[in-house]
């Protein structure tokens, strides 16, 4: 599970289906295809190439350019990093656990060294609903004062200093997940060697004391060129939201415990590993055993959304029309119930005591009156 998926999960913490499937490491894309509702996801190789070459360009030069960019944006009056001032520790290690341990070690060393360091594609882990998820930020910069900054490199342009707010928002949420994971690392490696007081005040500015900055550096192409430009983004809000949502996630064991005995999402692939042989009905029943919380926003973030939408529509749930719809409808949860409440009232239109039903009746009456007044109005279809 990557940070993007985690951020999306945190955006819909009530979805048990997603929490369980993600926590269990199920390939939701393959599952969705087997269910006959594939997601319209995919990345164009053009975008992929551009993203990779831009990232390579930004990190070229041993990270000196990137650190210079960061230093410029800090505007803290400190001395600019000179040539050769940036350390780039080697982070290669076997397996995600190994890389995570290597990253933690490199962060500790770099923090104690009291100089600039660029960690290219480090790996950090985060506990999600009771199981670890491994995350790979684009880069983490260690400042001479021992603080760390998450760097997010994106290939959408920053035109005249502003970029698409939706994309910036997504990048900020993603970075917040990295920041959160790094905070756990900082808590581990940041213990002062002498065991001095661990209050935040003593930590501030003291060299060798690890802390994660709550401003991340977003690097994007400038205007229509391939030159990098960057802005600092405050992710405190996203951080608080993500932390709260992750805490709220129902623990996977609890969800799993509620499942019928023997529930599995195994596709029973053929030997070549391509064709699922498990009957769709069986698979659907297995997926339906875990409750989902579908909203149209899922369509852009979850591979399984097309399936959940179909189920939600089949059940006539009002959320299929938008997350906010429920708010005005009180206890009415299905389209059929809403339409019945709106039209099948007593003739005298006396108040029912349910404000949602009364408002719906008014709305239906007003709508019918206005439609009937149309010139050449046709009778109701």
């Amino acid at each position: 599970m990557d940070a993007r998926a985690l951020a999306a999960l945190a955006a819909n913490p009530g979805c048990r289906r997603r929490a369980l499937l993600d926590g269990a490491g199920v390939d939701k894309g393959a599952l969705a295809r087997a269910l006959g509702a594939p997601a319209n996801f995919g990345q164009s190789q053009f975008a992929h190439q551009r993203g990779n070459s831009f990232e390579a360009r930004v990190k070229a030069d041993g990270g000196a350019d990137l650190v210079r960019l960061l230093h410029e944006r800090l505007r803290d009056g400190s001395e600019a990093p000179g040539p050769g001032a940036v350390a780039t520790p080697d982070l290669s290690a076997p397996g995600p656990q190994g890389r995570t341990a290597r990253t933690a070690l490199a962060l500790r060393e770099a923090t104690e060294a009291g100089r600039w360091a660029l960690l290219d594609h480090p790996m950090v882990s985060l506990d999600v609903a009771g199981s670890p998820a491994f995350l790979e930020p684009d880069a983490v910069v260690v400042h001479p004062d021992g603080s760390w900054t998450v760097v997010e490199i994106k290939s959408f342009p920053m035109v005249d200093g502003s970029a698409d707010p939706a994309k910036v928002g997504a990048a900020a949420r993603q970075s917040a997940v990295y920041t959160l994971a790094l905070e756990r690392v900082a808590a581990m490696v940041g213990e002062p060697p002498e065991g001095a007081g661990a209050t935040a005040d003593t930590a501030r500015g003291a060299p060798g004391r690890a802390r994660v900055r709550h401003q991340v550096l977003l690097v994007c192409p400038k205007d229509f060129s391939n030159l990098p430009t960057a802005e600092m983004i405050d992710v405190r809000k996203q951080l608080a939201v993500t932390r709260r949502q992750l805490d709220r996630l129902t623990r996977i064991e609890e969800i799993a415990a509620a499942l019928p005995e023997g529930t599995t999402f195994d596709l029973r692939l053929t030997d070549d590993g391509r064709t699922p042989t498990r009957p769709v009905e069986e698979l659907t029943a297995a997926v339906d055993a875990v409750e989902a919380a579908y909203a149209p926003e899922c369509l852009s973030t979850c591979e399984l959304a097309a399936h959940c939408r179909a189920r939600s529509r089949a059940a006539g749930l009002v959320e299929a029309l938008g997350r906010g719809v429920r708010g005005e409808l009180g206890g009415l949860t299905t389209v059929a119930a809403v339409l019945t409440a709106a039209t099948d009232g007593p003739a005298d239109a006396s108040p029912t005591g349910d404000p949602a039903v009364d408002a719906l009746r008014r709305a239906a009456a007003l709508r019918a009156e206005a439609l009937a007044s149309r010139p050449g109005a046709v009778s109701c279809r």
Partner: protein, 580 residues
């Protein structure tokens, strides 16, 4: 989404097709709009891949960039685009009518009437989706600071003539599209979803194909199914049958068809430049293949766009649409004048005063649009009535009264019986439209008891302080009997609940009756008339004027930099390789 819209969406779910949200068309549609369906290269800002453009739905012009990383090919595309769009934009510039406008005389400082030109009509650009509007803005930004060889002989990569000019026009159109209700640049998804409610979420309505599938599903196919097909049905090669409306392409198309065709093109081009025999023919073939591929992605969207136009044309135009279109004509004329006067391109960032003016103008436009749409359309008015911002009902009683000024003015009291629940407080201003189109103002006096006795506690407070024309009010209905009424706003809930569905409201007319002692005929409703009063103004005006840019306070960055170059900002720096 308001409750009445939610209800319409649910009706659409039940009926299996979209339901009307309006009874008239609230946007101007030109007789001869220019449709523009662009495609862009994934991941590359401002690197167009192709476009269909034109005013003739049967003969669009196809423009492609065979290799979007090649600056020369991109410039050639932009030049062709300018060739297609610029003459269309210019074709409306010369047919003008004269309008009288008040302008401040620079010498005397007085407002004097002057005759100014106003273009009789304006060009209209249609794009498929909101992302298309954003792309027009982006194109405008990428083009307007370019320099042609004529403007600057030193420039390292001169842009073709007309390209910077088109950039300025596209920027203007993009900027104008942010004004609520403006119609110079419109997206079909926005237009259609204003007029119809589908049985899916607004998020899914962004997809032009699925939106159209709900509004006009094929015979015998429910809207939900047709929409699902439009969104995700793929052919045997895994390509979408209904390609996305752009400007982003389907990644599957990029990976399976476009990328191989482009590498064939690159290979043939490399060979041709080395003079390999037969390479020229292969190059032409490869280019033709790319043209075919890109056209295959554009054409369905092009047809969908015009299908949407047909659907919209089937709606009658709202009465106040022309009034708003006139503002668009002013906007077009003003930009024409700026270009003719040789002003520099629009700056990258607005100065404080311009930005504040734009915001204020948009707020005013939004208020006007909301008022216009409600007045033009009973279905939109129904939404406002549900929200408590208007009420309609039958006049049950009219009582003549006059103000107590030296020259008494008619201030008749109208009792309206309505089932609506407007958010009324004592002396709230009310507005309605007279038969001749003029607006009439009134104010809420109080609730009348439905048994005929007027309960006018609300009017008591009003009596002594009627300041509308400097005279004390008559006290109106409270003279007629001594019934203690419910007190103004407090009674709003109680009176209605007690009396069942209908309530009687007393409104005092305060204007729109002419200058005489007797109201002009037709200006006072009669018993039995149906009237509709709104709590919102019909022609809301903007706030106070802003200072001149020269007197921008230091809190807002101070006056604009006098040392700034007169020809506008420098063009974007061009690096040797500006692609990745």
């Amino acid at each position: 989404m308001s409750l009445i819209t939610t209800l319409a969406r649910m009706e659409a779910v039940r009926e299996g097709r979209a339901q009307p949200l309006t009874t008239v068309r609230h946007r101007h549609l030109s007789e001869r709009p220019l449709a523009f369906v662009p495609l862009t290269t994934a991941g590359e800002a401002g690197a167009p891949l192709g476009a269909l453009v034109g005013t003739d739905r049967d003969a669009p012009r196809l423009l492609i960039v065979a290799q979007p990383r090649d600056r020369d090919l991109r410039f050639a595309f932009l030049a062709e685009l300018a060739e297609e769009i610029q003459p269309y934009l210019d074709s409306y510039a010369d047919e003008v009518e004269l309008e009288e406008r008040k302008e401040t005389d620079p010498e005397t400082g007085k407002k004097v009437p002057v005759q100014v030109e106003l273009c009789a009509d304006a060009p209209q650009l249609l794009v498929p989706s909101a992302a298309g509007v954003a792309f027009v803005r982006l194109l405008g930004r990428s083009m307007r600071f370019r320099r042609t060889a004529e403007q600057d002989p030193e420039t390292p990569f001169p842009a073709p003539a007309r390209v910077p000019l088109l950039g300025r026009w596209l920027t203007h159109y993009g900027e104008r599209s942010r004004v609520p209700g403006s119609c110079l640049l419109l997206s079909l998804t926005e237009l259609l979803s204003r007029h119809w409610a589908t049985g899916q979420s607004p998020l899914e309505d962004q997809h032009l194909g699925s939106l159209l599938a709900w509004i006009d599903p094929p015979e015998g196919v429910p809207g939900a199914e047709a929409a699902l097909r439009a969104e995700s049905e793929r052919d045997e090669d895994g390509l979408l049958r209904c390609p996305p409306a752009g400007p982003a392409t389907d990644p599957a198309f990029d990976n399976q068809l476009l990328a191989p065709a482009m590498s064939r093109y690159d290979a043939a081009r490399a060979e041709a430049s080395q003079g390999v025999a037969g390479a020229e023919a292969r190059l032409r073939l490869a280019e033709a293949e790319l043209r075919g591929l890109i056209a295959s992605q554009l054409r369905p969207t092009w047809d969908a766009l015009w299908h949407g136009v047909d659907l919209l044309r089937s709606l009658p135009e709202g009465a106040r649409v022309a009034e708003r279109w006139k503002r668009d004509r002013w906007s077009y004329t003003a930009h024409r004048d700026r270009v003719r006067a040789g002003e520099p391109p629009q700056p990258k960032r607005d100065d404080a005063v311009t930005a504040a003016q734009k915001l204020a103008a948009r707020e005013t436009a939004q208020a006007q649009l909301d008022a216009h749409e409600a007045l033009d359309d009973p279905l939109v008015m129904a939404g406002r009535r549900l929200a408590g911002e208007a009420f309609a009902g039958e006049v049950t009683d009219v009582e003549m009264a006059w103000s107590e000024a030296r020259v008494p003015r008619p201030r008749p009291l109208i009792t309206v019986r309505t089932e609506d629940r407007p958010h009324l407080a004592e002396r709230v201003k009310l507005h309605r439209v007279l038969a001749d189109g003029r607006a009439q103002s009134g104010e809420f006096v109080g609730f009348a008891r439905t048994d005929g006795a007027a309960g006018t506690g609300g009017a008591d407070g009003a009596a002594g302080t009627d300041g509308t024309d400097g005279a004390a009010g008559t006290g109106g209905a409270d003279g007629t009997d001594g019934t203690t009424g419910t007190g103004g706003a407090d009674g709003a809930g109680g009176a209605g609940d007690a009396d069942g569905p209908g309530r009687a409201l007393v409104v005092r007319l305060t204007g729109g009756m002419g200058r005489g002692k007797q109201p002009e005929p037709g200006s006072v409703p009669e018993k039995g008339d149906r009237v509709c009063w709104t709590l919102f103004e019909h022609a809301p005006r903007g706030g106070p004027e802003l200072p001149d840019p020269e007197s921008t306070p230091w809190t807002h960055g101070g006056p604009p930099d006098a040392a700034a170059p007169a020809h506008g900002p420098e063009p974007d720096p061009m690096t040797e390789e500006d692609y990745l």
